[in-house]
């Protein structure tokens, strides 16, 4: 062009553009740079051809490679399952009592059990088996209604508690509100508290306890895991440890329900989650 203006200071051509008196110098871009841009555009067209790219009304172009991230993921999952097989075979063969003693098996079982627990147990029992007030037992403490040995935990998980399964853990405390008077229940609640050193001991309380409670809860009130009767002589209360909540439980007992997991989880998953629960800190 004939009338290209030159900047007087640098001697460089200007582009002819001017903003608020500032002129834009024309320092030309190297041409190969432009070709790199074109090359990237051509490259992107290649993507359309080999990878899924364009949507249609009901589907999309699949690309000649037939790539799909879902298929990729399924392949990874299948590979992971294959890698797990030898461990799963060992877990399937070993009884739970052996799994918790074998360090290598235990590492694998607790890692797997953690995932099973998070998906199935955590909604009621809380992360890490922290429990929830109102009848969801803490699984990390050393107090077990139905026993804390590995095989006892596994049985509870498999068959549930009052779940309707034929092997379910089941017990039912009678409604003493229909047999005892209200003031008797209060005295009895006091006596129950006294077993863990909190309430007032009384002769009436001793008598009422012997007549009504020791058959299931034992002479010293320490419970019986075969019957699922709680230990009344410790500091752990599933449904609250005040005189009022204890009296309420004597008069009109509440009974929690836990579903049976046999059939919902495969046998290895059941073993893994039992091993995990056992390792939460309270396993016997």
């Amino acid at each position: 062009m004939a009338n290209v203006e030159k900047d007087t200071v640098t001697g460089t051509d200007t582009t002819g553009h001017q903003w608020d008196g500032i002129k834009e110098l024309n320092n030309p871009l190297p041409r190969w740079w432009l070709y790199v841009l074109y090359a990237t555009i051509v490259w992107s067209v290649g993507y359309w051809v080999v990878y899924p790219a364009w949507p249609s009304l009901s589907s999309y172009t699949k690309g000649v490679l037939g790539y799909s991230s879902r298929a990729e993921m399924e392949k990874d999952v299948a590979a992971a399952r294959k890698a797990q097989e030898s461990w799963r075979a060992k877990l399937a063969a070993a009884p739970i009592a052996e799994i918790v003693k074998d360090k290598d098996l235990l590492v694998y079982a607790t890692a797997g059990g953690k995932a099973v627990f998070a998906e199935n147990c955590q909604p009621c029992h809380g992360a890490g088996g922290a429990g929830r007030p109102g009848g969801y037992p803490v699984l990390a403490d050393d107090d077990w209604l139905w026993g804390g040995a590995p095989e006892e935990i596994l049985a509870t998980v498999r068959f549930g508690v009052r779940s309707g399964h034929k092997d379910a853990r089941a017990s039912e405390m009678p409604r003493f509100g229909e047999q005892l008077k209200a003031d008797e229940i209060r005295v009895l609640a006091d006596h129950v508290l006294s077993l863990s050193g909190k309430g007032a001991k009384s002769d009436t309380g001793v008598k009422l306890f012997e007549e009504n409670c020791i058959a299931c809860h034992g002479d010293d009130g320490k419970g019986n895991k075969d019957l699922g009767t709680p230990n009344l002589a410790d500091g752990i209360w599933l449904l609250g440890g005040t005189r009022e909540t204890i009296a309420a439980q004597i008069a009109t007992p509440r009974h929690g329900v836990m579903p049976a997991w046999e059939g919902r989880l495969d046998p290895v998953a059941l073993k893994m989650v039992a091993a995990y629960i056992h390792a939460l800190g309270g396993g016997k």
Binding site: M1, N3, V4, E5, D13, T14, T15, G16, H17, Q18, W19, D20, K23, N26, P28, L29, P30, R31, W32, W33, L34, K103, L106, G126, A127, G128, G129, A130, G131, V138, A140, D141, D142, D143, N231, D234, G235, I236, A279, G281, G282
Partner: protein
């Protein structure tokens, strides 16, 4: 306002075609320096992975090794774990400040002598000159129509370049695996896809960058030329042209008088030898990488005319001004910026050295359970769960005695190691690995005085009695 002051120019002016550069062979001080730098640097690059360093059984014996799958880096006697990667940050800071310092002192010596782009371009140009000849021969060859001789030369050149590029890419991967093993695996086809992929990648980049892109990398891709202007001052040594002595320039004959004219005989040799194709007589410019080959070129011409050397010289702006006035030149090494860069360099270097000398080769990390925060036990005690990790960074199996302090009467159990409540536990940790332990700490609630309390885990190395501590919290209701 947005008023075009002139008609927009043709769009073809917005893009510039690369002008082929045919650097001429040159001899002299700086050329010898460049050869020396090239030999030393390439020797280091290709040779370093083959250095051996005995670290004992079970440990790699390569002096320089970055073991990505094993999460370790080895530098002679130093072994770096991933969490110590800040030493790499420190090295990068040292490198950056060192670059600032050398640029403030002596201009673009990094660009001109040591940058990989410069070194490999120099190497590729040497090969090119061997096969195709010097500047005039190469220019003629480029213009000549395709002939069997031309095709042969071109093929030979590109094969040689590809060979060099492959050696470069192939050497890079040696830093990431045992070099002798990898070399064998590479050529019998048993190395990993990553190894072949990275070799191909670095072969391609070396071939393209050193064979074709060359000065375009320095001018258009590299940010450093744009930054280094801020490192210069009038005392920095740069490649200068004494225009007060050289101008007005003009052709000259042997033995003629230089009265009333400049010393520059306008032979153009300074431009012909330049690897980036600049004319240094226009003064300091971004495309000048400071390699000083033009100094060598000019100094080969000046004596022929009986003129003093160093019309083009490695000198500072301030010195040039002094020489023009006839004052004695003086190099000022001590300037606020050089002192500041040196001070930062020393401080960072000292901090790194102190960190390296004082670093422990074991660590304890404690992660408290988030859920449950605490557990109430049958007898009324409180229990908190922790995951304790003991890092044994030495090449020997060790036993650590773990204790807790801060809560009187606190006891611990560790599934798999300590079944009964104890106050201390002996825990084995294998060489060069992390031992992970579930630790349950039990305490009476009245010891907490109604609040969460600090609890300190101490792991004592049974072999030398050194204790490593880590504080955490014991929670209660």
């Amino acid at each position: 306002m947005n008023e075009p002051s002139a008609v927009a120019t043709s769009s073809s002016l917005l893009y510039a075609a690369r002008e082929e550069i045919y650097p001429r062979k040159v001899k002299g001080t700086f050329r010898r320096l460049k050869w020396a730098a090239l030999i030393v640097l390439l020797g280091l690059y290709y040779g370093a992975p083959w250095l051996r360093w005995d670290r004992g059984a079970g440990a790699p014996d390569q002096a320089l090794l970055v073991d990505m799958p094993g999460r370790r880096a080895y530098f002679f006697m130093i072994e770096i774990w991933p969490q110590e990667v800040y030493y790499l940050t420190g090295l990068l800071i040292l490198a950056a400040i060192g670059l600032f310092l050398i640029t403030a002192l002596a201009g673009r010596v990094w660009c001109g002598f040591t940058c990989p782009q410069t070194v490999w371009t120099d190497l590729f140009m040497w090969v090119e000159r061997l096969i195709e000849g010097d500047r005039p021969a190469r220019m003629a060859l480029d213009r000549a129509p395709l002939s069997p001789a031309k095709a042969l030369k071109r093929t030979a050149k590109h094969l040689a370049w590809l060979g060099l590029a492959f050696a470069t890419g192939g050497a890079w991967i040696m830093y990431f695996a045992d070099a002798p093993t990898l070399l064998r695996e590479f050529f019998v086809g048993r190395a990993s896809a990553e190894v072949y992929g990275f070799t191909a990648l670095f072969t391609a980049t070396t071939y393209v960058l050193a064979g074709f892109a060359r000065e375009q990398v320095c001018i258009y891709m590299c940010p450093w030329p744009r930054i280094q202007g801020a490192m210069f001052d009038e005392h920095s040594l740069i490649v200068t042209y004494e225009d007060w002595r050289g101008e007005p320039r003009g052709g000259a004959k042997h033995g003629q008088s230089f009265e009333g004219r400049g010393h520059c005989v306008d032979c153009g040799l300074c431009v012909q030898v330049c690897p980036t194709g600049v004319d240094i007589r226009q003064g300091l410019q971004m495309a000048c990488i400071g390699c000083a080959l033009c100094v060598d070129a000019c100094n080969s011409i000046m004596p022929r005319f009986g003129l003093p050397k160093n019309l083009i010289a490695y000198d500072s702006i301030a010195n040039q001004a002094a020489r023009m006035k006839g004052d004695p030149p003086r190099v000022r090494w001590l300037r606020p910026r050089t002192v500041a860069y040196t001070a930062i360099l020393l401080v960072v270097g000292a901090a790194m050295a102190a960190g390296l000398v004082g670093r422990t080769r074991a660590e304890v990390h404690v992660i408290a359970d988030r859920a449950p925060l605490f557990v109430r036990l049958s007898d009324g005690d409180l229990r908190n769960g922790y995951t304790v990790k003991i890092l044994n960074m030495e090449r020997a199996d060790k036993e650590f005695r773990l204790e807790v302090a801060g809560i009187s009467g606190a006891t611990l159990t560790i599934p798999g190691f300590v079944a009964e409540e104890r106050t201390a536990a002996a825990l084995p940790v294998k060489a060069d690995s992390v031992g992970t332990f579930r630790v349950f700490v039990r305490a009476r609630p009245d010891r907490l005085e109604g609040r969460a309390r600090e609890i300190v885990f101490a792991a004592t190395d049974e072999s030398d009695g050194r204790a490593y501590r880590r504080a955490n919290v014991f929670n209660g209701p």
